[in-house]
Symmetry: C2
DNA sequence: GCATAGTTCGAACGATCGTTCGAAATTGTA
DNA sequence: TACAATTTCGAACGATCGTTCGAACTATGC
């Protein structure tokens, strides 16, 4: 059964690339058949349909991100390391993983609402765990902040990191490590270090 | 306003709401007919087709954002005001405008690549001007930074601000002004103050 | 009344989509 | 070789999409 798994993996990877380029809804099963070299009907031997294709791409990718983040955090002390260093590790892992798997991560970010019913629910469950992971890190790093403000800050950070599929070129002038450093510096410098009590606008 | 223009405006607004909820590609002209109360064929009296509908929504919205930002910057000194204050004004305007026009701004952010050909080009031209506007502000605020790093920082900021369509509820616990303040604080504290320590502002 | 321009819509068209199905081809096993 | 399981695919189906067209309705001026 080894050639079967390889073929399925290749189908998922190439489909992810097309989904990332053209978008999920405007990609046809015929497009995927052309890219994979299979026939239109042949793909249905590996996958129940188009939506399961998207689901398996997202679930596979999201599981890897989550596992990778947890592994990256273990490297800087499970629960007793320096909170700021752990947050840094989380950011660096997310950004470098994103840069290394642009297609899948774009599909994960941009097609977050293209699944329906149970499939949508399953992916959202992983997302919940991932968001909780970051919010836990923010609790350790800014314990005096309100939970609401920490949650907003978490999404602001995710915004910086996930938005890169709209502009970033991993082969361009900025290598992934440097981008991760920039985002980490901005967020940590702005949310953690700069505990300036003065509000932004007069109030 | 003539009844024709009112009807067209209503069509664009309601279509924007449906595009924001369901996505552009999975919205059918029949969906829009149901929401606007018009017949399927009736909409083609106001618009050449589905893509022109998206184009007019995006162009109308983007033009307003750009004009609003320029107006907001005039309020804090055209080219001789405090650079940090002008950046703050830009951020606050973008975020509060986003919160006040969630549907249109989500369509602008999420369907940025759903247009084709000349229409795509036209919207991108406005986007270019808008991005240039922010990069100019960053030049005034961090003149020692490299252009590449400033550009990346600009997109990081846009990421924080545009991502809010994925999570933010303007009627929730965080009002738009507070969200704008949080994002401005994070970005300015992390990108500006962290590398060029200056006296406290805003107090 | 008539004529004109502006506005609406039912009905249908052609195209394209995701999916199915039975058969053909291939591989594995004895 | 023969036979079964696995894998592939041509061809077509039904559904749904964006769009079109000509007729019908409305409002206004004469």
């Amino acid at each position: 059964m080894r050639p079967y798994d390889e073929r399925l993996d290749q189908l998922l990877s190439r489909a992810a690339k097309v989904f990332a380029d053209q978008g999920y809804h405007s990609t046809t099963m015929r497009d995927l058949a052309a890219v994979t070299g299979m026939s239109l009907a042949g793909m249905y031997y590996y996958v129940r349909g188009k939506e399961e294709l998207l689901h398996r791409i997202q679930e596979r990718c999201f599981t890897r991100v989550l596992a990778g983040a947890e592994r990256a955090l273990e490297g800087v002390g499970r629960g007793h390391g320096d909170p700021v260093e752990r947050l840094q590790a989380f950011i660096r892992h997310h950004v470098t993983f994103f840069a290394a798997h642009m297609a899948e991560m774009k599909v994960l970010s941009h097609e977050a609402n293209s699944l329906t019913g149970e499939r949508q629910r399953k992916v959202n469950a992983i997302k919940r765990r991932y968001v909780d992971l970051l919010e836990g890190l923010l609790r350790d790093v800014a314990p005096d902040e309100t939970a609401v403000e920490r949650s907003a800050a978490a999404y602001a950070l995710f915004g910086m990191m996930n938005w890169i599929y709209n502009w970033y070129d991993p082969a361009g002038e900025i290598d992934p490590e440097r981008l991760a450093g920039l985002i980490a510096r901005v967020f940590i410098g702005g949310f953690v270090d700069a505990r300036s009590p003065s509000p932004v606008h007069g109030g």
